[in-house]
Each structure stands twice: as structure tokens, then as C-alpha cells.
Symmetry: C2
């Protein structure tokens, strides 16, 4: 089936894709509002709002929101990223209209009851505590901060505890007014769905939203930076970031294929050199992520304090080596992995709905799979070597380290020198 | 489509289910060998074997294993539980024969090269370090140990570092000889699969395995026990276990519905009372797990040191209250959640293949969905109240606590007294 798109007069967009044979559907609204849309004093408010959406509306108490979806065996959830807040549900076929109704209600009619704000503040402070207790979560927040210092995109999604303690009803309402606008929302649905029915429902539920001009966000600027802390843990958690293309850039697929060949699977260079040949870690991977105006390739590994030097050196050497000898065979494998991974991912309604929303937000259309496959297939080893060369020389790099490392553990300057040598 | 089952003369079983519309498949072999099949000096060896399977066979190097699957865009992985070791791959339609061939090869022909054993030992020691750095992983190992002290089923899957340091080639080979037997293996496949083709291939690859008599494992005995450690963390990690039915018991669905109503979703009692009304935690849940001869309902939450008393007390009070006033409405919701969750889960080839293997291992047949639905629908509020009453009175309970708690933080005896009062 082909995705079908419909835009309401106020700019609210709907995209659906029916998947034959499915008895359930995933449906959600993706709002173009995330951590990077926050001013510094607002840091954490997009995520706070995500929580408050479930705490009661003009029509439903918090309990009723949960019960109405769970009474039919569905589930409802939400997440916040640097660029997006998403509210979604997975339900059986007949319950799609209910799911759309509940999601519209929590988005449009939240009451932000003062008492509920206080309770939810406690929940979020616990969520922050949980993140701080998880070194391999924390390290990625540090890396983001090191790469984008003093910028909205570099701050945490959850926000610091002191900010979370300060938000009130007016702060929440103001952020909604500024960012939860009709033309910044996409309703996406995949699985056992009927396009016309969802469009009719969306017209009734979102058609009266006012249209407002788009707020600009601060352009991101990737910097070389470092954040490290010695801590009595079992492992040193090591994370390295390299500046990469945005999803608007022509070479975004080159960066993804590079990351895949470098550290995307068991046959990748980092997995083979660091784990398979030397046994220095359990987890190691590279992946390329992208935003509207920047991108970041992340390499992560956890190792012991004794081995962090070797691991960091090997990682940097693999980054260099890729620039000279990455082969067509490796690139062909990475291309195939990307294409097959995409096909397999699309067999899940949740993944498919999310992809529809993301594609529509980026390109204002849903590219055919053939078009994506063509772009992936166009990337060859020469492109990737050239890209790796750019990554190794004169590119910005950020480093985060957390754990039981010695005073002479690798630092950013040393790694940069080695990479450029 | 209906699942199709075939048994080879040596007892090796094959179960497949074609899913119309799918372009990919999940295929794997589930071996009836896990942590509970280990003698104490073997603790960690089932998991070590899981790792060594990927480190080279008579026909393929470690790199070739990875490359052959990733060349076609698939992925291959494995996991070890207390009862099972599973090796599985997800591939596109045409690559199912390749996946079966690779899985058969790593299962039947691993070389256990001495040098590779040394390297993989390092990887597993890092994996242990990673688990120790993750409080909300560690707490479940402690809970298991508290509930099943000095028993194979109570030990960790990874094993202690000192055991992992001791295993050699002969240890690995002996465990394979004892436990990797034809009649203890199930090949399960779901998605774009052809039953007859897979059976023919399995005959060729597994048909010559010798049949041996089944080794018994030590029956599990759930005890009341406690494990706690003060640690400078952000949260106190709290985990409570109640003795529950095994998957062979008639009331296994009652236990699952009880756990779901108590802490299975946003409308559940624990979520509502502890998080939604009081904001004491971010994560809280209850779930009922089962083994061949025992079962365990686990309740987990993370909270601050100041709030652990309230959280533990509230949790116990909810366990008690369920015995007197859980309603038909709540039970109906839990039943619907279970049924819908099953249907939605079955839309994924990986979940479906895993379920086929599990059902066949337990019942030596694949029950119709209707049969399961009937068993779920047969559970009513009276059953659940009676079950909750049994849980609250005279039942064994185990407790694990880890984090910044005071000396007078809740202990097992206090919680048991409150529960029984």
C-alpha cells in the first residue's frame, strides 16, 4: 500500500499507511517541539509537558486516560527528543478512533492542574535520578553537552533538577502556545487503518487549531569539547562524537554507511578489532544520528580502567584506517544492512508510523522506498573513504569519559593529534 | 496460517508458521539448557557457550559467521536464560536457508579454539562489569539469589568472574555433550517461511545428532530471603518477589492477570497509587514470570532514600488490598490487555518464533489462540482475590534493596508482618 497524505487548511498534516494482514495499528501525533526549542530557563519543559499530557484534560482524569486505552487492551505512551515530542498508542483495529480521540484530547485540552504538576515534578525528579544511576545513559548526555556547549541542542531532555523544580502552570501553557501549533503537528498511523476515517476524525479534532507563524530555533554549532569524571565504577564508559551531516545534507547516507561499516554490526571494524580480536569490551558500536542542521556520529564502548588507553587508541586508528582502505565489499554489506534493516523495520506498525511522521516532517512528502534505495546504492567506497578522510582531518570531535580511569587516561587533544597524524 | 510441527527420529523438533504478507523471517534454535542446568562450579558456562558459538566452527571463522549473515542484511544473535539458550537470526525471505545453515553450524561444529576462549573470557568479564554498573539490572540478580539461595536457578546467568576465569575447552565440550541433545532442541521459524523446505534442511543438518537420555535438573524451592546493600546512588532500587505458579500449574494465568492488575500498566493499582497519586517513582511495575517448576512475581520500583519507606509500605498495602477488593472491571481490563498484547506481539516474526519454541517446549504442541483466550477468560475477580489472599498469607517473599537507604529502611520481616496483618 502507498502512504496517503492530507493537509488540513490550518496546516495540520495527516499521513497513514494501511498494512494488509494487520489486526492492530499504531497511531500518534508528532509535534515539532523538543529540547532544542527550549530557552535555557525552560530546559526540561518539553519533557515536562509530555508527562503532563497524561495528567488530566477537560474531559478525562489521568486515570480515565489510562483506563480508556487499557480497557481495550491497548497502550499509550510518549517520548521527547531534541527535536520532537511524540504521543502514540498501539491498539487493535476497531479502537483506532478511540486512540485518535484520546491523543487529541491530551494534546489539546490538558488542564495542568497545580496539584498534578507538583506530583509529576516528583516523578520527573525520580526519572532524573534513574538516569544519573545509569552510566551508559549519562555518558550520552555528557557527550551531547561536550559537542554542543551552551546550546539548546546540547542540553539534556530531562533538564536539570533545579529547573524542573521551578516550572509552573504558566510556563507549561506558554510553551504549548509557542510550539504546539497546527502546522507543527503530524498525525501518523500505520497498520489496520482507514485513511478517510482518520482524516474525518482529525478534521473534527484538530481542524479548529489556530495557525501561527513558525518560531525559529537556534542553529546548532558542533564544537570540539570534552567532559570527564573519575568515578568508582566497574567500567570506564567511553563516548566519542564526530561532526556529521544533517538530514538535509546530500551526504547523510554516506555518513550512515560509514558508521555502519565502522561499528554497525558484528562484522564491523570496531567490533572485530576491539571486541573479537582483543576482547576489550562487551558493547561497542558506532551510529550516525542527524538533526535538521547538524549531525553526530557516536562511538560508544565500555571497558576496564586498565584497557581504556588501548581501546581509545584502537578506535582512533580504525577511524584513520577507514579513510585509506575501506573496501567495496564492506560498503556493499553496509548498504545491504541498511536496506534490509529498513524493510524489516517497516514490518512493524509502530516503526512505520514513526517513519511516516519523520519523513513528512523532513521532506513534506513520503519518499518511495525505491528512491531511498537508490540514494543508498549510490554510495560507494570512494565516497566513504573521502568522507572518512574529512572526519579524520580538521573535523570537530567531542569526548566523554566516566569511570575508574587513571590520571593519564586518553584526552581529547591526544586523540585529535593521533587522528590527524 | 496454522503452525506446522515436525519431529525428526532423534527427537529434534521443528515448528514453523508462515505469516502472509511478510518479506522477512525470524528463525532460531532454542536449546533446553540454561543457568539452572549448571552445577555450581559450572555457573556461567551456558552463557559462555552462547558466546563461543560465534567464535568459529569447523567451516567458518568468527568473521565469516558475522559476514555471511550481514552480507545479506540480516542479523544474528543469541541469549541465555535460566532455562534456555537461544540462537536466532532475522533475515529476508530468500536468506532463510542461509540462516538455518549458519545456526546449525555454530551449534554443531564450534571449535572452542583456546585463543578464542581467552579473548571471549575478556568480553564476558566486561559484560559482567557492565551489569554491575547498572543498578536496575543488578537488583534482579540479587532478588533471584534471595528467593532461590544456594540453587542453580538462583545464580546469575553470567556467573561470577572467578568462575568465568576458570572455564576451559573441556568444560565447554562437556556441557555441550550433556545438554545440547537432539530431543532438547527446537528449531522455530516465523514469517516468510516454507515449512517443508525448513524440515528438509533440518533433517540434513540435525538428523544425525545422537539421542541421549534427559538429564534432570534440581527442582527449585522458593525461600523467603533478603539481600541489601547501602550504596551512594541517586535512587534506592527496590525489588520484591512473591512465590507464584509454574507454567505447568493451572493457575498460571490467574497469577499473570493478578500481576497485570496490580502493576502491569498505567491504570494498574501500583502505578496509580505510588506514581500517579504520590509521585514517589518514575518506574514501577509488577510481572509474573514462570519456570517449569516454580514462578516468581516481581515488583520493582526506584525511589529516593527519603521515600523508600513510604514506597515499600504502599506496595505491601496494595498487595493486601487486592485480596479484598479487586474488581471485575479491573480483571476484565487485565484479561483484555493480555489478549490484545498477545495478538499484537504475534504480528512480529521474532516474537512469534520465540512463542512457538516456548509453547512446544512446555506442552509439546502449539495451543490454538482460542484455547489460550478461553483460559484467560476463565479467570474472574473471585479467583484473583483468592490468589491474592494466598500471596499475602503464608507465602514466601524475597526482598532486594540497593542504594542510599537509612539503617531503618524496610526489611523483609517488617514487610512480611505488615502483609500478613
Amino acid at each position: 500500500m502507498k502512504p496517503q497524505i492530507h493537509t488540513l487548511p490550518n496546516g495540520f498534516r495527516i499521513v497513514t499507511e494501511a498494512m494488509p494482514g494487520m489486526k492492530s495499528a499504531s497511531v500518534g501525533v508528532w509535534v515539532n517541539a523538543g529540547g532544542r526549542h527550549e530557552r535555557i530557563e525552560q530546559n526540561g519543559i518539553a519533557h515536562f509537558l509530555e508527562h503532563m499530557a497524561f495528567k488530566g484534560t477537560a474531559r478525562r482524569t489521568a486515570l480515565q486516560i489510562a483506563e480508556e486505552i487499557e480497557d481495550v487492551g491497548g497502550y499509550i505512551n510518549a517520548y521527547t527528543t531534541r527535536e520532537v515530542t511524540a504521543f502514540y498508542a498501539r491498539v487493535l483495529e476497531n479502537d483506532v478512533p478511540l486512540a485518535v480521540d484520546v491523543i487529541a484530547d491530551i494534546l489539546r485540552n490538558p488542564t495542568f492542574d497545580e496539584k498534578e504538576i507538583e506530583i509529576e515534578r516528583g516523578v520527573i525528579l525520580q526519572e532524573i535520578g534513574q538516569a544519573l544511576d545509569t552510566p551508559d545513559d549519562l555518558i550520552f548526555d555528557w557527550l551531547q553537552d561536550a559537542a554542543y556547549p551552551d546550546q539548546p541542542i546540547g542540553r539534556t531532555i530531562l533538564g536539570p533538577a533545579e529547573r524542573v523544580r521551578s516550572f509552573d502552570q504558566a510556563d507549561l501553557a506558554n510553551f504549548v502556545t509557542d510550539h504546539y501549533r497546527a502546522d507543527q503537528m503530524i498525525l501518523a498511523a500505520a497498520g489496520a487503518v482507514d485513511h478517510d476515517e482518520i482524516v474525518r476524525q482529525a478534521e473534527a479534532l484538530f481542524g479548529d487549531m489556530p495557525q501561527r507563524s513558525k518560531l525559529q530555533f537556534e542553529p546548532a554549532k558542533f564544537h570540539s569539547g570534552e567532559r570527564r569524571e573519575v568515578k568508582d565504577l566497574e567500567q570506564v564508559h567511553f563516548a566519542l562524537a564526530l561532526q556529521c551531516p544533517s538530514y538535509m545534507d546530500d551526504d547523510v547516507y554516506t555518513s550512515q554507511i560509514y558508521a555502519s561499516a565502522l561499528g554497525g554490526g558484528m562484522s564491523s571494524r570496531l567490533f572485530q578489532e576491539v571486541r573479537e580480536k582483543r576482547g576489550l569490551c562487551y558493547t561497542i558500536f558506532a551510529q550516525a544520528g542527524s538533526y535538521a542542521d547538524t549531525g553526530m556520529m557516536t562511538i560508544y564502548a565500555g571497558t576496564s580502567g586498565d584497557d581504556i588507553d588501548d581501546l581509545a587508541t584502537l578506535t582512533v586508528d580504525e577511524l584513520k584506517r577507514a579513510a585509506t582502505d575501506i573496501s567495496e565489499v564492506e560498503i556493499a554489506r553496509a548498504r545491504t544492512q541498511m536496506k534490509a534493516g529498513m524493510l524489516m523495520g517497516l514490518e512493524s506498525p509502530s516503526n512505520r508510523a514513526e517513519r511516516l511522521a519523520r519523513m513528512l516532517a523532513i521532506w513534506d512528502r513520503i519518499p518511495d522506498l525505491d528512491e531511498i534505495v537508490e540514494r543508498i546504492d549510490a554510495v560507494n567506497a570512494t565516497d566513504v573513504r573521502g568522507f572518512a578522510e574529512k572526519m579524520a582531518h580538521g573535523n570537530e570531535i567531542a569526548l566523554a569519559l566516566y569511570g575508574p580511569m587513571a590520571a593519564d587516561a586518553p584526552d581529547l587533544d591526544g586523540l585529535k593529534r593521533r587522528l590527524a597524524s
